[in-house]
Amino acid sequence: MSVPVSQMYTVATYVLKQKLRGRKRYPLVLMLEPLFRCNLACAGCGKIQYPAQILKKHLTVEACLKAVEECGAPIVSIPGGEPLMYPDIDKLVTELVKRRKYIYLCTNAILLKEKLDLFTPSKYLTFSVHMDGLREEHDEAVCRDGVFDEAVDGIKAALQRGFRVTTNTTLFDGASPLRMREFFDDMMNLGVEGMMLSPGYSYSKAPDQEHFLRQARTNQLFSEMLSSPKRRWKFNQSPLFLRFLMGKKDFECTPWGNPTFNMFGWQRPCYLLQEGYAASFRELMDDTKWENYGKKSGNEKCQDCMVHCGYEATAVDHTFNSLKGFAETVAVTLSGKL
């Protein structure tokens, strides 16, 4: 694990407070989408297919901060769209840092070098760079040649300036475990703090519908990829979530773990499914029929989903739910064996 101690402490105390307060459902990461506009049109993305007037719009900083306050999660992930295209991204980040929120600014890094001057290095700010594999695989996933090299340049520039940088990788069917292991080596050689992995979710609006992973294939791919992990590989996520992806743990989804806010409101029920919007965070939590989601519900849209936004929160909750869960997390973290 590569998460800094201060961040681990913040998350741990937050989760324990929720448990002491007896809150059954609490958010862990706010997915804040200030805009849907993007400078790429990736094959597996179902987030940016909107009419022009929607793509031109974005949230105000005030609306973003209100959502952050309402939600209360200690971590704010800023995906999109491409957040570096958000005209007020510097103001938003400054305000979030003031509020001591741990920010993951999820970017394709095409604009990273050019925009770095807008930001100040902070333990609260991490650039989470979208990297779907080595050059060939990444450029294919984002449907444009040269993006891998631009992202690498952006990563190097950000690291040189003292920023925290991680990578986020979505895996689709056809991914080669050996190539991915090579990719992990390359990313660690670049000097990133850690890597985040997740299988892709089959967005019904994504252009490529053929290559989303099913559960058994996900388990096989992650087992092959992560068996005998090298000690130098650092993952910026719960080791129990990685064990879940490898098929070594059975978790149920926590759809409220990563609530999503964008210009439409609070998305029901989760970051991936888009079944309507609530006007407030309270309404989202209180009025969503949570029993209709997750594998146990029988909802067919949830059956093959193993995505981080539903299961990482489960893994974190599991860590703090019992001494056994805590001991397991510590053991995996210290041994480095997944």
Binding site: Y50, P51, A206
Partner: protein, 122 residues
């Protein structure tokens, strides 16, 4: 498959609730035809049929909104805007890459033919 261009007739076979659900799922602008005959063009991003007064919410063509329209004020919804999710950008990308690869292979093959003495006449 896309619903682009569909002008549904709300009747015994197609309920307004179904039409609204299709419109909610549609990633393009639609034209809401109201019972008073007026029309509103925009992107429907939300609907709630589980409340006493079911409603849709939309941003109009200029991006203004959100505005709410009650189900009971809707006669039908026309799928008039381009379906932005119906593109085949990924397919087009794969096809282009395959064409480029084929051209590279062909060029390499031609180069080999030219440099191979056995293929030259004389």
């Amino acid at each position: 498959m896309t619903l682009e261009g569909w002008v549904p007739q709300v009747n015994d076979y197609t309920s307004l609730h179904e039409v609204v659900d299709f419109a909610f799922d549609y990633r393009g602008n639609t034209t809401v035809v109201k019972t008073d005959g007026s029309e509103v063009v925009g992107y429907i991003f939300n609907r709630n049929a589980d409340v006493p007064e079911p409603f849709v919410q939309l941003f109009d063509e200029q991006g203004d909104g959100p505005m709410s329209i009650l189900y009971r004020d809707i006669a039908t919804i026309k799928f008039t805007g381009k379906d932005t999710a119906a593109g085949n950008s990924w397919k087009a990308w794969v096809e282009r890459k395959e064409r480029e690869k084929a051209l590279r292979v062909a060029a390499a093959g031609a180069g080999q033919l030219e440099s191979d003495p056995h293929t030259h006449g004389g």
